[in-house]
Structure formats: structure tokens, C-alpha cells
């Protein structure tokens, strides 16, 4: 999509609503002909970011491939809530095998399509953060390294939600999970651990890597469609707040995803062939406290005893992201999140 200059903002955020855009730039979700890849009736919790993210991403991929899409799915919330036997919410060909092998399943699908000369059909593979950064990491790294023709999407809710909110390698510091309880001298998840999966993907020098959230629909859809314009291994890491695991209001899912970006906690960027090519600028940096306070998993930072020293450490991590990715530098209207060209 070409850039479109938009002069005014009325939506309470810096995102641009469809109403303000030319018809051709409306989101896939706003299109009544969207494929509803993950259709209604599934068993996700109210306000589930993962369900939103999957629907947005797959519908965009469906549009980009003109409906010629196959999906592999790791075990996790997305798999469990979408396919309780004998029902399924998937309106696209879909296969679930195991928790740790979704990237390799997709490799096999892509190999079969190649040998059959079916370049029109494309493969996506999807998993939660646990299925991506932990148990599926070996298969994912192999799929990247071979540059197999697969788009892998990680729905990052920052813990093992399906098994009851245990810590994963993507759980942020200080967050309470069932295996990093808010007790002891260092309550919640410890500092200094965890994997930065998007940067690990960049290090594999695959054709395309992007981060996205469920708050910026235009941005997410654009990145998925862009990913589908490449051949080879591609990776999109989507932050998907989980009301159950995060202890947040079900109505706060999109707001929290937006705050994660505006605080610098979750940087939005794109990379091609190992080089970062674009970042989404932050217009006004929001203090991390605004992002943390509505989340029950950080409650121990505020009550009964406030822990400003821990907040400070989290703020430093956000500041580091902002400096590292240049998220504040030279922001202008053309680079606003959601306003194209971001």
C-alpha cells in the first residue's frame, strides 16, 4: 500500500481507523469477503489476544494467497480452543501434530508442494511462545536455516497458557506465572533470562522477519501480506495479551498491546535478509508503569509494598529497546504507527 497522508486523529490512539482511509486501504478484517479462517464458535477465553491475532494474520495471509493456504499448528491454546472434537473453527486446511514440531511439519508440507509443482499453495505454521522459543526452537531454527518456504507465526502471550500459565523463555522479568510466583526476594520471573526470538530469527538471515501486535491491525495485516510476497522462511512474532494469564481485564487486550509498543516494552520492527529495515516510531513514550499496573501478573510491584526499584529495572529495559531500535528518533506524521510506511 502507498502512504496516505492523514491529518487528524480522533480514535483515542495514533492508529488510523478505516473510516479515515481510502476504500482500497481498509483492513482485510473490515472486508465482508474476509475468509474467517478461524471462525466463530471456538472456546477461547473472552478477550483472548491469541484468537484475535490468529484470525487477523490468517485472513490477511488468505487474501495474499487468494485462498490457497495450508496451516500447521503446534499444541497450545490456539489448537485446543479451536478444535474440540468433533468441531473445528478452521475453515482452511489445518493440521495439528505435536507441541514441538510445527515448523518441521510445515517443512514437510512445503517439500510436498514443491515436488508436486504446486507453487500456488502456501504454508503457514503457527505456535504459542512456548511452542516457538522453547520446545519448537530446534525445528524452527532448522526450518529457518534451510530457508524452507514457510511463514512461521508466533503468538506470544509470554507464558505456557494452555497448561495454566507457567513460565516460558518468552516470559518477561518480574511477571508472575505459576512457576515464577510472586514470592521471595526476587518475586516473579527473574531478570537476565529469556530469549529475544525476533532477533534470533533475524540472525538466521531469512528473507523476512517482523514483530506486530493485535493493537495495530493495519500494521499486522500489512506485515503478513508483505511476508507472503517473499519465498523462503519468514517469521512474524505477534504480541497477543492473554487476560487469563496476565490477570488483565478482557476489555484491555488491545489497549495493553498498544501500551506495550508505546512504552518501548515491545518494539515493532521489520528485517530483511538479516538487516533491520523498518521500525515503528513511538510518538510519545509512555512510562512502563501504565502498561504494568493493569496486569495482575505485576500486582506485586505495586501492592502491598510498592517496588519502585523493580519498576525502574523494567523501565531501563524499555529505554534500552527504544535506544536500540531508534524508536523515538525523528518521528513524524508519515511514520506514525498504523499510518502506513511505519
Amino acid at each position: 500500500m502507498d502512504d496516505q497522508q492523514v491529518k487528524f486523529y480522533q480514535v483515542g490512539s495514533f492508529a488510523v481507523g478505516n473510516r479515515l482511509l481510502d476504500g482500497g486501504k481498509h483492513t482485510v478484517q473490515a472486508d465482508r469477503a474476509r475468509s474467517n479462517s478461524l471462525t466463530s464458535g471456538h472456546r477461547a477465553c473472552q478477550g483472548c489476544g491469541e484468537a484475535l491475532g490468529a484470525r487477523y494474520a490468517l485472513d490477511a495471509a488468505m487474501r495474499a494467497t487468494e485462498g490457497r493456504l495450508i496451516a500447521a499448528n503446534a499444541t497450545g491454546c490456539l489448537e485446543v480452543f479451536s478444535t474440540p472434537y468433533p468441531e473445528t473453527s478452521w475453515q482452511i486446511p489445518w493440521l495439528h501434530s505435536l507441541f514441538g514440531n510445527a515448523p518441521a511439519i510445515a517443512t514437510g508440507m512445503a517439500a510436498a508442494l514443491k515436488v508436486k509443482g504446486r507453487s500456488d499453495i502456501r504454508v503457514v505454521s503457527q505456535a504459542g511462545d512456548g511452542g516457538t522459543v522453547d520446545i519448537g526452537f530446534g525445528c524452527l531454527s532448522g526450518m529457518f536455516e534451510r530457508n524452507d518456504d514457510v511463514l512461521f507465526i508466533c503468538y506470544d502471550n509470554e507464558a505456557y497458557m494452555n497448561t495454566g500459565v507457567q513460565r516460558s523463555g518468552a516470559t518477561p522479568p518480574a511477571a508472575r506465572t505459576a512457576t515464577t510466583e510472586a514470592v521471595g526476594a526476587e518475586p516473579g520471573n527473574v531478570f537476565g533470562q529469556g530469549k529475544n526470538m525476533p532477533l534470533l530469527a533475524v540472525a538466521h538471515e531469512i528473507p523476512y522477519v517482523a514483530t506486530a501486535t493485535v493493537a495495530e491491525l493495519h500494521d499486522l495485516e500489512r506485515k503478513v501480506e508483505k511476508a507472503m510476497s517473499f519465498r523462503g522462511a519468514r517469521y512474524i512474532h505477534i504480541l497477543v495479551p492473554c487476560p487469563l494469564g496476565w490477570g488483565s481485564a478482557t476489555s484491555d487486550t488491545v489497549r495493553l498491546a498498544r501500551l506495550a509498543c508505546e512504552t518501548g516494552v515491545f518494539p515493532l520492527f521489520e528485517a530483511e535478509n538479516g538487516e533491520i529495515t523498518a521500525t515503528s516510531k513511538i510518538r510519545h513514550q509512555v512510562p512502563v508503569e501504565e502498561y504494568l499496573r493493569p496486569q495482575g501478573r505485576y500486582k506485586h510491584l505495586f501492592t502491598p509494598t510498592p517496588r519502585p526499584e523493580i519498576l525502574k529495572k523494567i523501565q531501563q529495559l524499555a529505554d534500552r529497546n527504544i535506544a536500540r531500535f531508534g524508536l523515538l528518533a525523528g518521528s513524524d506524521e508519515a511514520e506514525l504507527v498504523g499510518a502506513e510506511g511505519s
Partner: protein, 417 residues
């Protein structure tokens, strides 16, 4: 065409003749020569169209096979030992999904202690996974069983494992009859999947199933195995008509006429067992041999029938359930319960220990006299075991047993003390 080639090469030729579309490989001895053989045929263009995928683990190898098979491609992989265990979760999954993947297992022991030599612990560890398991006695068997395996797998939509003894077969140069491409094409139709991922007809494969239907799903897998019990002998007969070789089937009886004693076994050891039995037959002793070609599904009825009339049965096997009993032995006992023969179980050839004709002869004579214990270990060095038990008794920190035993037998120099 008759060729003098390595067993692994024979299998690679057989697999290529079956025109797999996706072949996945992760190296482990003694399987390596098989996948190298297929790999070079793909790379040179001789086997085309075919995608040969070098993956990062056996876990991925079986996963890639699942993805390919679910897309309607004929998929093949091979492994052994630690590799089979590393992919175990996916091995069960392939069977649960009902995907007709064919895999060679070049049978090898499982560590620790790490050991690259032949026994059947690997294949036995996944005997309950839902895969069909065929055991080759010779390299010709291995070659022919692979051709039958693809047809069987695809007809029934069940994965098939062809087991061949590591090194003993995989690395042995033997004369084999390699069929022509035309012959195999005429025998093996192209893969018509029962379930396939297709944008024009979207299905969900691998959905969650709770208690309301899980038993039925499992029971259906059992039914498909029972169907295989019928289909395997039919296919072997068809194969014989087409290729002129009566290889395959459920069991292979040898000199069972009037046999009072029968030795039952799987795989390449049958050759030596038959030699030892021939010698006793020459001395007028009524002894016979029953080879098991199909281990899963377990051909209990065919075995019971073949053993009708036997007074004693000696089951020789290269694996056992530690703390329990032999695995084939237990299955054979169950198959013959209430039908007469006494079953003796002998564990032999673990980790590549040679199974000699002399030892087998001694075992057979004991079997004939009915003086074998219910479970025994062929050529067990009990002195070695006793000395280690003594060390463990007298010293708390007796150290790693494997190393102690090696020191004892002189493989590792004795500690200077």
C-alpha cells in the same frame, strides 16, 4: 537384475524404485548408507521428482514426513537406536494420524552404555505405537519388504516400519535380485491418500479427542492392524506372482514337519538358527524353526497353528523388558497358552554379541531336554556379573559398572593402585 551389493544399497534401490516424493534424513549408524544412497539418487536426478530434506534431528525427520504425507506425498525416512527414541513422540503421532509413512529401522542397541551394534531394543521400544513392524531375515527380504511396505501402508493408511539388523544386514554385501522400475511401477500404484490437506476441500487433521471417542479411535487403529493380518499374506502371494519370490507374509516356517522342538526368532539370526537346526535334523532330532516376519500386527493365530504339535518352543530374541521377560517370548507364550508347548525364552545377541552356531546348538539341546529355565541369557558371562555384584556389595562408591566390567575383561587397563 542380480547384483552383489551392500544391504543398505539394496534398500536404497528398493526405496527409489518405489518413487518416494519426500525423503527425510538424519544420520545415525548403521542407517547412514541407506539415506546416503537415496540422497545421491535424488541429487543426481535419477530419483525425480523427489525432495530430499536434510533435517536437524530425527524428531524433525518424522515430523517432515508427517507434513509431506498429509499433503499427499509418498514419504520415507530411516533411522536406528537413539534416533528412533529421539523421534518416538512423532512415531506415535504418525500412527495416530493414520499416515502411511514407510521407515527403515537399522536395528541397533540403545544406550547407556552407548553401543552402535545390533540388537532389537530400538524397534521393540515402539512396538505399541501403532506402526506395522516387518523384520527382514536377509537383504533380499529387506529389499522386497520395502516394496511391499509402501503398498501395505498406503492401502491401509497405516505407517510401516521395516526392521533390518544393523551391520549384520545393512553392511553385508550379498547377492540380491533388484527388480526393474517397470516391475515395481506395475505392482505399486501411485499414492491415493485417504486424507489430504487441500484448499479446495479444507479439513482439520489432528483435532483433540476426549474420553467420549478416544477408545473408539484407538480401537479403529487396532482394527486396521487386524486387517493387515489378512492383507499381509495376500500381498506376499501377489508379490510372489509378480516377482517370483515368496518373501513376506506373517511367519516363515522351516522344517516344521514332525518337529517336537521349535525355535522362534526375528531377523537375520534365523540364518544361523537354521544351520544349527539342520545339523540336529541330520542327527535325526525333530527340530524346526519359525521365523516371524510380521511382528506388529502380532500373528498370534498363525504362530499357534505353526507351533501345533511342538512340545517345546524356544524363543530367541535380541531384546527384553528389563525386570520382566522377553518381549517376543511373552507374545508367543500368550499365543500358545492352553495349546500345549512349554515356552522357553532366551535373550541373545544384545549390543552385537555374536550368536554362534555352537551356542545355539547347546541351547537347542537344553530345550529338547526341557532343561532351560523360563528366561535365560545366551553366553552370559556370569563370573563377570558376580564380580561386579561383589564390588557393589563391598564398596559404596563402586563407580560406573560399565567401566568396571570393561576393566575386568581387560578392554580398559586396570587402575594402577
Amino acid at each position: 537384475m542380480l547384483r552383489q551389493i551392500e544391504g543398505s544399497r539394496a534398500v536404497a534401490e528398493a526405496v527409489a524404485l518405489c518413487r518416494p516424493e519426500v525423503v527425510c534424513a538424519y544420520p545415525i549408524s548403521p542407517q547412514t548408507h541407506i539415506i546416503e544412497g537415496v540422497g545421491v539418487m535424488v541429487k543426481s536426478g535419477r530419483l525425480s521428482p523427489c525432495e530430499f530434506v536434510n533435517v536437524e534431528s530425527e524428531f524433525a525427520a518424522m515430523s517432515v514426513s508427517i507434513g509431506a504425507s498429509a499433503m499427499g506425498a509418498r514419504a520415507y525416512t530411516a533411522t536406528a537406536s537413539q534416533g528412533l527414541l529421539f523421534m518416538t513422540e512423532v512415531v506415535y503421532n504418525a500412527a495416530g494420524l493414520g499416515l502411511p509413512i514407510v521407515m527403515t529401522v537399522a536395528n541397533r542397541a540403545i544406550g547407556a552404555p552407548i553401543n552402535i551394534w545390533n540388537d532389537h531394543s530400538d524397534a521393540m521400544s515402539v512396538r505399541d505405537s501403532g506402526w506395522l513392524q516387518l523384520f527382514a531375515e536377509t537383504n533380499q527380504h529387506a529389499l522386497d519388504l520395502h516394496i511391499q511396505a509402501f503398498r501395505l501402508a498406503e492401502e491401509l493408511s497405516v505407517p510401516v516400519m521395516v526392521c533390518m539388523d544393523g551391520f549384520v544386514l545393512t553392511h553385508a554385501f550379498e547377492r540380491v535380485d533388484v527388480p526393474s522400475q517397470e516391475e515395481v511401477d506395475a505392482w505399486l500404484p501411485s499414492f491415493e491418500p485417504r486424507q489430504v490437506l487441500d484448499p479446495d476441500n479444507p479439513v482439520s487433521i489432528g483435532a483433540m479427542v476426549g474420553p467420549e471417542a478416544f477408545t473408539e479411535v484407538r480401537y479403529l487403529a487396532h482394527v486396521r492392524q487386524l486387517q493387515a493380518l489378512v492383507r499381509i499374506p495376500e500381498l506376499a502371494a501377489e508379490f510372489e506372482t509378480a516377482f517370483g519370490r515368496g518373501i513376506g507374509g506373517l511367519v516363515s516356517p522351516y522344517r516344521l514337519e514332525g518337529a517336537e522342538t521349535v525355535v522362534v526368532a526375528l531377523g537375520s539370526v534365523l540364518g544361523t538358527i537354521k544351520d544349527a537346526a539342520d545339523a540336529l535334523r541330520d542327527e535325526g532330532i525333530p527340530i524346526g524353526v519359525l521365523g516371524i516376519t510380521t511382528f506388529r500386527p502380532f500373528p498370534a493365530e498363525a504362530i499357534a497353528e505353526a507351533l501345533e504339535g511342538a512340545r517345546q518352543v524356544v524363543v530367541v530374541e535380541k531384546a527384553f523388558s528389563i525386570g520382566g521377560h522377553g518381549i517376543l517370548g511373552a507374545d508367543v507364550s500368550l499365543a500358545t497358552t492352553g495349546r500345549g508347548p512349554s515356552v522357553y525364552n532366551v535373550i541373545a545377541g544384545l549390543g552385537g554379541r555374536p550368536i554362534t552356531e555352537d551356542s545355539l546348538r547347546r541351547m537347542m539341546l537344553q530345550g529338547i531336554e526341557r532343561s532351560l529355565p523360563p528366561l535365560s541369557f545366551l553366553d552370559l558371562d556370569s563370573g563377570l556379573v558376580e564380580r561386579e555384584l561383589d564390588r557393589m556389595e563391598s564398596e559404596r562408591r563402586s563407580g560406573p559398572s560399565a567401566e568396571n566390567l570393561l576393566r575386568d575383561v581387560g578392554t580398559v587397563p586396570a587402575r594402577a593402585s
